[in-house]
């Protein structure tokens, strides 16, 4: 019964495809926790600068990105760091990080972007709750 076999495969294939599209719709609309809705134009400009200079080739946000520099998700709220510290590094670069010759407006925009990242959640390893079933829960998920 080769023909039946083919339509059976087609059926499963279609089912998976439809499931995928529904899931995609869910991701597009549900992915964001409530607390992440207010967005300033400055932060948006900062995000564009972040992309233009390819900061993510060295830096991560939520552990996603390059590996040469530190994760920047919560730099602004880390004790001993904060805005002035971040601004100084962005202004001058370091031994490894190039100096991007950013002007003050650009640095402010990048700071606004990093602030948005910082407020969106807590990415420090110790901030996650580890469940017995192997799941982890972040503050960002439970916060409404």
């Amino acid at each position: 019964m080769p023909e039946r076999n083919f339509s059976y495969h087609r059926f499963i294939y279609t089912l998976l495809g439809v499931g995928f599209l529904v899931f995609s719709g869910f991701v597009y609309t549900q992915a964001v926790p409530e607390n992440n809705h207010v967005i300033s134009p400055k932060a948006v400009a900062g995000k564009m600068l972040w992309q233009q200079h390819n900061c993510s080739s060295c830096h991560q946000l939520y552990g996603l990105g390059g590996y040469l520099g530190p994760d920047l998700t919560n730099t602004l709220s880390t004790k001993g760091k904060g805005k002035n510290y971040a601004a100084a590094i962005m202004k001058n670069g370091t031994q490894v990080m190039p100096n991007f010759h950013l002007n003050d407006t650009e640095i402010e925009a990048l700071l606004a972007f990093l602030e948005q990242a910082d407020k969106s959640g807590n990415n420090r390893v110790h901030s996650y709750e580890i469940g017995l079933d192997g799941t982890i829960t972040s503050e960002g998920e439970t916060r409404k």
Partner: protein, 468 residues
């Protein structure tokens, strides 16, 4: 048969592969020599050069193999020839265009495969052409498709969908919101990786059928079951990249649950281990088979790591460390590249005839050198990642520069192994390229049998094209 479009794809892919590895070495050097070429050839440029060229190796190589196999089954219509060349031209245009963009500091800035958005348009077009040619070739030719046709169709369609999806950030609804943007980004990139895997694994299935002279597995229930399982993973398990991101728990739980079904695939490999070993004894003298065997071992290692990393509680520690890099390198080099090299050996063998004994010797040395150094390379990255995870948990206050210093020994081994890896692959690739440029014709015409399930033993022999 002389140089045809399929071999042009593959030869270009091989050259791009070497180039990509070369950029990778330069980028890696910046790990042990902080600040090296910081202002002339910075990491911001080298990293995308490395990533993109390697991705183009996979894309060009896989497309070439699909065209070759469609050709051997007499399915490619003469009229599609110019479309195939258009596909080739568009991909090369994007590859060169993106390299120019990086050199001139013009970035897409997306993690991790990035180029300026306008270059995505010709790339999507190239795949639409690919889809058209594929569909014209196979549609209506048979009642039952072997599994690799399904895989190729899926690979092509998913690539188009996912590449387009990865540019949703251009719309403010997606782009302005960091968390939503990252979620969609990783959804799309998970699927893009899956899409080239479908092309490459499909071609590998085809090759296995050719080597063993038995294509019945490409029609069997078991094969379909595992393929559907893989497809389900492609669609729903990408959430394991973003366990840390504050997105809906449903996305993460789905990913966790679906990822664990890969244990079935893992179990199947273990179950069939003994049979694979005896099969290996039988066919190992053939170069293509040898590369497939290496890919098998790498699948085993990397799938094991992938399953562990998909458990959120473990992922919490390994995420964002070089464990992830080890996994990415292990799969693209150990699995995808080994399979593509197997295919390149097979196809070039069919088209241009056997390698000279001297070149064959080089390729064999290259085989062992590349696999051996890949193992060291992989272990060094694992070591760096696990050490990083340890410090991150027990000494979270440690400054980043100090942490990197602690990892330097691992990076040193990693680069050292990387150099040998490069040499090993060069020893494999150069003989193949030489063969391509000499353009010599194979002595024997190959026999072609259409892609129906072959049941009579006498025909199986004819289906297998031996190439030692």
């Amino acid at each position: 048969m002389k140089r045809n479009s399929a071999t042009i794809f593959i030869a270009t892919a091989l050259a791009v592969f070497l180039l990509g590895m070369f950029f990778g070495l330069l980028a890696a050097a910046q790990y042990v020599m902080p600040g090296l070429w910081r202002d002339t050839l910075p990491f911001t440029k080298l990293r995308p050069l490395h990533v993109s060229m390697v991705v183009f190796w996979l894309l060009l190589g896989a497309s070439g193999c699909v065209y070759y196999f469609l050709g051997t089954e007499k399915l490619l219509k003469r009229r599609t020839r110019k479309w195939i060349l258009l596909h080739y031209g568009l991909v090369c245009f994007v590859a060169v265009g993106s390299a120019i963009a990086y050199f001139s500091g013009n970035f897409g800035g997306r993690e991790y495969w990035e180029f300026p958005p306008y270059l995505a348009i010709p790339l999507v077009l190239a795949w639409v052409v690919f889809l058209g040619v594929f569909w014209r070739s196979v549609y209506g030719t048979m009642k039952r498709w072997p599994v690799y046709y399904w895989m190729w169709l899926t690979g092509i369609v998913f690539f188009i969908f996912s590449l387009a999806e990865s540019y949703l950030w251009l719309l403010p609804y997606f782009g302005d919101d960091l968390v939503r943007d990252m979620a969609v980004q990783w959804k799309s990139y998970g699927a893009i990786v899956g899409s080239w895997n479908q092309l490459i694994y499909g071609a590998a299935f085809f090759l296995m059928a050719k080597i063993s002279g038995d294509n019945s597995f490409a029609f069997s229930r078991k094969t379909y079951f595992f393929w559907f399982l893989g497809l389900t993973n492609l669609m729903f398990n990408w959430g394991h990249h973003i366990y840390a991101l504050p997105v809906s728990p449903y996305i993460k739980h789905t990913a966790y649950l679906i990822s664990m079904t890969e244990l079935l695939i893992f179990g199947k490999i273990l179950w069939e281990w003994k049979r694979s070993v005896s099969e290996m004894r039988q066919f190992f003298y053939q170069m293509p088979y040898r590369f497939l065997a290496a890919a098998d071992v790498w699948i085993f290692l990397n799938l094991g790591v992938a399953i562990l990393m998909s458990i959120p509680a473990l992922n919490l520690h390994t995420h964002g460390t070089h464990v992830t890099v080890a996994h990415a390198m292990g799969t693209t080099i150990g699995i995808n590249s080994m399979i593509l090299l197997a295919l390149a050996f097979y196809i070039f063998g069919q088209v241009f005839g056997a390698l000279s004994p001297k070149n064959m010797m080089k390729a064999k040395v290259g085989y062992w050198l590349s696999n051996g150094s890949l193992l060291v390379f992989w272990l060094a990255l694992m070591g760096a990642g696990l050490t990083n995870a340890w410090y991150q948990w027990y000494e979270p206050e440690m400054p980043h520069a100090l942490l990197m210093q602690k990892l330097v020994p691992f990076f040193a081994v990693f680069i050292f192994a990387g150099i040998f890896l490069f040499i090993g692959f060069a020893l494999i690739v150069f003989p193949l390229l030489q063969q391509f440029f000499s353009g010599k014709k194979a002595d024997t015409e190959t026999k072609n049998i259409p892609p129906f399930e072959i049941l009579e033993p006498s025909k199986k022999q004819a289906y297998a094209n031996e190439y030692a």
